[in-house]
Symmetry: C2
Subunit: 369 residues, 2 copies
């Protein structure tokens, strides 16, 4: 049976057929019809964060990481000093790209099983006045931890520091309200909780800092200020846009709105998460994180402590039963990850748990259930 597998991965993820069908048409990138799609999409994205008054949104070609790099390059001046709050792999990547582009970068390290601490940030900003910007990963999918966006934003505001938020894995699922939470830049991408296909990111930039961003970037492709100015002037993207990805995202956002927006999406993902964790617990699997710090986006499970276990064989067995799992990203502990996001509901999660149980049995590893 060549039935499509369900992706339990944190993007690319399973999208609806309706979203994919939007790609069955070619669009001229200079044409007004296409530019109206871009404009409508940008309006919708701003509404999702209640940011129409306070922010602009700038789409960018490429993967989400390209948009993170572009956000840092655009918002942080050449002589800025970035502090990355680090509790996982994506934080380390943000620090690496910041250092590579020549911005001064410091790292405040936390346990990867715990959220970063706004109090520790407060102390750090007190003691080092040279820091100009803070980078926070909202949901660090390395382990799946939800970081305290609101508390971190308040500390940054108190000290007058810029805040850059990587909201890649949380945007659309967890509440982000630009009226309540002050950020200079917030980054997300098409192929995550909005359930589009991968190929573009987008960055919200606070209007109050926008003009000062001119000339910061040392990369033409990643200059979000230049992209913004050109787009406002011409309605077009500066360089060839991924037209099919853009129209698929616009179609995905329409379905997001029809479903009831972020609260409805969070509700569905939370239901997915609960079915998953309860079902896996019944099979004897333990989540790596304390549920109190776990986002309902992606769950890290300890690998079974059994000599017959190998991730590759486990992955292949689950795939034969229709589900694509995700490897762990922790360096010290053997884990695997299961995403709760995408165009799937509790039924698919129940089937996924069943597939995991079958996979274990086939590997000769006893399950509780």
């Amino acid at each position: 049976m060549d039935r499509d597998k369900i992706l339990l991965t944190p993007g690319p993820l399973t999208t609806t057929l309706r979203t994919k069908l939007a790609m069955l048409r070619d669009w001229g990138s200079w044409d007004a019809d296409f530019n109206a799609v871009t404009a409508g999409l940008r309006r919708s994205l701003l509404q999702i964060v209640q940011g129409t008054d306070s922010h602009v949104v700038v789409p960018l070609q490429g993967s989400g990481t390209f948009s993170v790099e572009a956000a840092v390059a655009t918002v942080v001046p050449r002589d800025g000093h970035v502090l990355v709050l680090d509790n996982g792999a994506y934080c380390k990547r943000a620090a690496r790209l910041t250092t590579m582009m020549g911005r001064r970068c410091s790292v405040l390290a936390f346990d990867e099983a715990q959220p970063v601490s706004a109090d520790a940030l407060d102390d750090k900003l007190q003691s080092d006045a040279s820091i100009s910007h803070v980078v926070l990963i909202h949901c660090e999918t390395g382990a799946g931890v939800l970081n305290p966006l609101q508390a971190v934003a308040e500390v940054c505001e108190k000290h007058g520091k810029g805040l850059i938020v990587d909201a890649m894995s949380s945007f659309g699922a967890l509440e982000i309200d630009a009226r309540k939470t002050r950020f200079d830049a917030l980054v997300a991408a098409s192929g995550k909780c909005l359930e589009g296909v991968p190929g573009m990111g987008f960055v919200f930039i606070r209007k109050a800092v926008l003009d000062a961003c001119a000339g910061n970037s040392q990369s033409l492709a990643m200059d979000l200020h230049d992209q913004y100015v050109y787009m406002e002037k011409t309605t077009q993207w500066r360089f060839t846009p991924p037209t099919h990805v853009v129209v698929a995202l616009a179609e995905a956002v329409r379905q997001f709105e029809e479903e009831g927006g972020q609260p409805a999406r969070l509700e569905r993902y939370t239901a997915n998460y609960e079915v998953l964790v309860q079902g896996m617990a019944a099979l004897g699997f333990k989540p790596f994180l304390d549920p109190a710090v776990q986002a309902p986006i992606i769950v890290t499970f300890h690998a079974p402590d059994h000599p017959a276990y190998q991730f590759k064989a486990f992955y292949e067995a689950a795939k034969r039963h229709g589900f694509i799992l995700y490897p762990g990203k922790l360096t010290q502990i053997e884990t695997f990850r299961v995403g709760c996001i995408g165009a799937i509901g509790p039924d698919e999660m129940r089937q996924a748990v069943q597939a995991v149980g079958l996979a274990m049995r086939e590997m000769g590893i006893p399950c509780t259930d």
Copy 2:
């Protein structure tokens, strides 16, 4: 009638339904099935330039310009000196991105209606030994000029200089043979003459210079050496690939091979070009370029010298009749452009000429025909 318009634009362009249908499936970016698609695509791309022995190919997320920037950032050392052979808008863009990233950059300027001169390059390299790399745009679509790749490559080889070729608009249609033509990097993209959808580029890098590329890039996202090393080690892309764009390109390349590869594609585009130019001449339109320097990719026409002519109205009228034209990119002269590339043949070009004639009549501009 909401029939799809034919795109006479130099990418995004009209693709086959078969190519678009390949996007109706979601792929896990970590999964072996998807990574086999990437590997097969890379093998096919290398075969198109006969570069399997001499070069590697590194795909990159984003538009073609991202890949041009990445090629310069990866191949040119921080203390390198780039000479851009400039006969149009895309040359100027290459110079701009090179300067922005902090590489020393010089420009050798030519008339935008003429190919760049290999003899002038020879003189320049003779007189300035500090130049380390030359950037050439193979087909400069600003006007549509075909530049002398082989002659420029020979001059670069004679002087021991690196050559970076932007072959965005020529790759797949015009002959490029890595066994005959020495280049350090050659850049193209998915949504051009291979007739895929836009969203990724790819860069051929000469194996002899590959190791020296480590650490050159000041951008993480655009570090093609890092992308290459990771891809060889893991079979995966470093950051989320545009999965649907990748599988669409793989499907487009299969059709490219079935059609008969580059010679067959050149033959079809040349037929398109001839039908277009003859038909437009019959309507009284004059091409901007001397046919001797014109690539059969995109043709720049002088706008009619008539007070009723306005590009916007002309564009809208042609669009109503089913065809999307492209604006001119010359600064001094009023022109428009018509692409000859995409999943179209002489029938579509004849219909396009007819649509142009109708548009002129509707604007009240007399046509010869």
